[in-house]
Amino acid sequence: MRLEEIKDILHGTVLTSDLDLSLEVDTVLASDGMSEILAFHTPGALMVTGLTNIQSVRTAYIADVRAIVYIRGKLPNEKLIALARDKNIVVMATEFGMFDVCGILREHNMKGAM
């Protein structure tokens, strides 16, 4: 599924607007535990998390994550967005919680990495 479509189904807001939303992802890493993201490393995956600190982007970069969805309406700060942009990681935010985000993505045939 293209990142642009993911943004639409999650009623999301893209925070790195200058990055490519035509990229495809088919696997989801959903966790607030950064070691879990690393343990189930899947290159090119979509990371779903409620953790909006700078380590979420550093973890995503190490884990070759293509895009991050921040849940529950949490908005990361500008420093995080700048780092994500620098590492070419698309960042978006949604008002949905973890359960709903995962449910919606699964309904659209996305698969879990864990």
Binding site: M34, S35, L38, A39, P43, L51, Q55, T59
Partner: protein, 148 residues
Amino acid sequence: MTVYSEELFKRVFTVYGHNFDTAGETSTEIKSILKGLEIDSDIIRRALVVAFEAEMNVVMYANIGTVSFVITDEAIDIEVADEGPGIPDIEQAMQEGFSTASDEMREKGFGFGMGLPNIKKNSDVLKIESDVGKGTKLLARIRLDSNA
């Protein structure tokens, strides 16, 4: 760890404990170094997981530490030495789910008892020495010809 093979690259990074703003920067830099080399992507991934988890352990628990990153013609060696509280029971600390992390660490997404198990899983050789009250030394080797 004694390195008998030829050392092709070496860099030593200082990691400051309890500084979450810069936590992960060393591993991010190591990734930039590795990306430019002709090394199998799975080997790179494993080295980065080891480096990142070990770096976060220094940030979370120690006052200061060093990450020594060495590439030889046979392996990637990551040696992390810190000045910190040490690990009283290494065997227990290696068990998945065991953690002495504070709530603050968990709120930052770490300290769920997966760090050392992740390091072990991604290393071909792992040696940990710890002196309670003084610090911990971790030596991890990822062989370039391995594919775990």
